[in-house]
């Protein structure tokens, strides 16, 4: 289990002043959950993810994974970025197996594991392709397979589908849910799309900017319903779904109005 306690982050702005990027954020990520951080840009959600990944130290507070304090990046937390970070000089299979190579797993075993993971994301036919021969959506699937290869306890995803067209995006959401249902990984997912947050999250935390803090929190069942029934249409058109969408939209817009009043 991952616990974030009173995490605060201060950056130095270019003019030397302090930027309060994250303000006393507390969060629990339980096994088998998808926690989605939802907010406009600048609300500190990427800062939070970078801190959990270990790329960024906290100014105050603590992050623990299974009781151990986090003090840098590690293979127990897999990361998927919005920007595709596959290595162009390696085949798709070698990219997937990169973490296993770092861990010293022998080549034959790496190949076998890469094949399994590519099957999981539906790309078994592209094992020997070069990354630049794949479409954007396929590359993100390879990224997910690569992050899963080291069997991390948690998957951290920073707007992974943000650069995809909306049709591909829906396919990727369904793929992620099916991967989650089959592997039972806990996932921390960042998005600025309300629909995506509602569809994917077992928990959705709404964040507000300046300073970045959690302003609302919802426990949802949509993703579990989808994993059980497999019907996207039924979930997206359910009255509960649109009700929740309006609730969250009002929270975010209400916040914008207050910011406007301040200015």
């Amino acid at each position: 289990m991952l616990t974030v306690r009173d995490a605060s982050v201060f950056f130095a702005a270019r003019d030397g002043s302090e930027v309060h990027a994250l303000d006393r954020v507390s969060l629990d990520l339980r096994p088998d959950s998808i926690v989605v951080a939802l907010g406009t840009s600048g609300c500190g959600k990427s800062t939070l993810l970078n801190a959990i990944a270990g790329f960024l130290p906290l100014s105050e507070g603590s992050i623990r994974l299974d009781g151990r304090s986090i003090d840098g990046p590690g293979a127990d937390r897999g990361v998927v970025f919005q920007k595709d970070t596959l290595l162009p000089w390696m085949s798709v299979a070698d990219n997937v197996a990169l973490g296993l190579k770092f861990a010293g797993v022998p080549l034959r075993e790496r190949r076998r594991r890469a094949g399994e993971l590519l099957r999981l994301v539906g790309l078994e036919a592209f094992a020997d392709a070069a990354p630049y021969e794949l479409s954007g959506g396929m590359r993100q699937r390879v990224g997910i397979a690569r992050a899963l290869a080291t069997e991390p306890k948690i998957l951290l995803m920073d707007e992974p589908f943000g650069a995809l067209d909306s049709l591909t995006r829906e396919n990727m959401q369904e793929l992620l849910v099916s991967v989650w249902a089959r592997t039972g990984k806990q996932i921390f997912f960042i998005t600025h799309s309300i629909e995506e947050a509602l569809f994917l999250g077992t928990t959705v935390v709404v964040m507000s900017p300046r300073p970045g803090r959690i302003v609302a929190r919802f426990d949802l069942e949509f993703v579990r319903d989808f994993a059980r029934d497999g019907s996207v249409g039924a979930i997206r058109s359910a009255p509960k779904f649109s009700e929740m969408r309006e609730t969250i939209r009002n929270i975010i817009h209400g916040f914008d109005a207050r910011m406007g009043a301040l200015q």
């Binding site: 293979a75 897999g78 970025f81 000089w89 951290l156």
Partner: protein, 282 residues
């Protein structure tokens, strides 16, 4: 009614479709090979014409066929104490050994300068001081210190070729994206693995560009250095020929240099194609 009948009985013509494309910027990737070949042929024709009509003295401008004859003579009988092949061999040996030395030093030093603040801080001043200097300016110093033999020439070339390789390796390290490094770290990469599997391959396209530039610089410097201090080499051959106003031999030398430089540049492009086929695709 009649109008419709007319249309039906009109002979069917194959549709002439107008194939369109967005207006290109500049030449827009259209092929230029034919134009280049025609220009080359035209220039040779012009040379032939001017020299055959004796518009210029044959002492200054020999005919192309005279140059070809001289080429065969120089290749078989030799000129200035060596055959053409031996001159070219001497020059190539100098450039190749200097390239190997410069790459062996420049790539690791440049990578270290990109990775480490101290290495960068220490080496920035000496490299920044010497590399804008024209190599021929410090050639006399090389000769005073190391004599007129091969060592001074190879070292001169090595120095001239080191800087672009070193600078491009630094630029290569700078071009590695933070996300790429972070992903590797979160996959459990250690320092050595991060360098070998992420930083070095990411920097490789820039390094190869640096090698290409340095080969060009090296070749140019070599010929100039041989004009001043050598007993063998293609530059020396040109210099000797000019002293006897053997213009046709000078032409032979220039053509050989051009051919060598072209071959080098083609080889480097081949190397790039082979080592970094992904260049510009991600």
């Amino acid at each position: 009614m009649t109008a419709i009948a007319d249309v039906r009985t009109a002979p069917r013509r194959a549709p002439i479709r107008r194939i369109v494309a967005l207006r290109p910027v500049g030449r827009g990737g259209r092929p230029t090979l034919a134009i280049t070949a025609a220009t080359g042929g035209g220039l040779i024709g012009l040379w032939f014409l001017v020299s055959s009509l004796r518009l210029a003295s044959p002492l200054f401008l020999p005919r192309p066929d005279e140059v070809v004859t001289q080429f065969i003579a120089v290749a078989t009988d030799g000129y200035a104490n060596a055959t053409l092949f031996e001159h070219v061999e001497a020059s190539l040996a100098r450039v190749m050994s200097a390239l190997l030395l410069a790459a062996a030093a420049g790539i690791p030093v440049g990578l270290l300068m990109g990775m480490n603040r101290w290495v960068k801080g220490v080496l920035d001043a000496p490299i920044g001081f010497y590399w804008p200097l024209p190599p021929l300016a410090y050639l006399p110093l090389m000769i005073i210190w190391l004599g007129i033999g091969e060592v001074s020439k190879v070292l001169l070339l090595t120095l001239a070729m080191f800087a672009p390789i070193c600078l491009s390796a630094q630029a290569g390290v700078r071009s590695v994206s933070v996300e790429r490094v972070n992903v590797a770290l979160s996959l459990g990469a250690g320092r050595g693995q991060l360098f070998r599997d992420i930083v070095f391959p990411s920097a490789l396209p820039e390094i190869l560009t640096g090698l290409r530039i340095s080969v060009g610089i090296g070749w140019g410097t070599l010929v100039a250095a041989e004009l001043i201090a050598a007993r063998r080499g293609i530059g020396y051959m040109i210099m000797s020929a000019s002293e006897f106003l053997a213009t046709d031999v000078v032409f032979v030398g220039i053509i050989v240099i051009a051919a060598c430089a072209f071959a080098f540049s083609a080889a480097m492009r081949g190397l790039e194609h082979w080592l970094v086929p992904w260049k510009g695709k991600s």
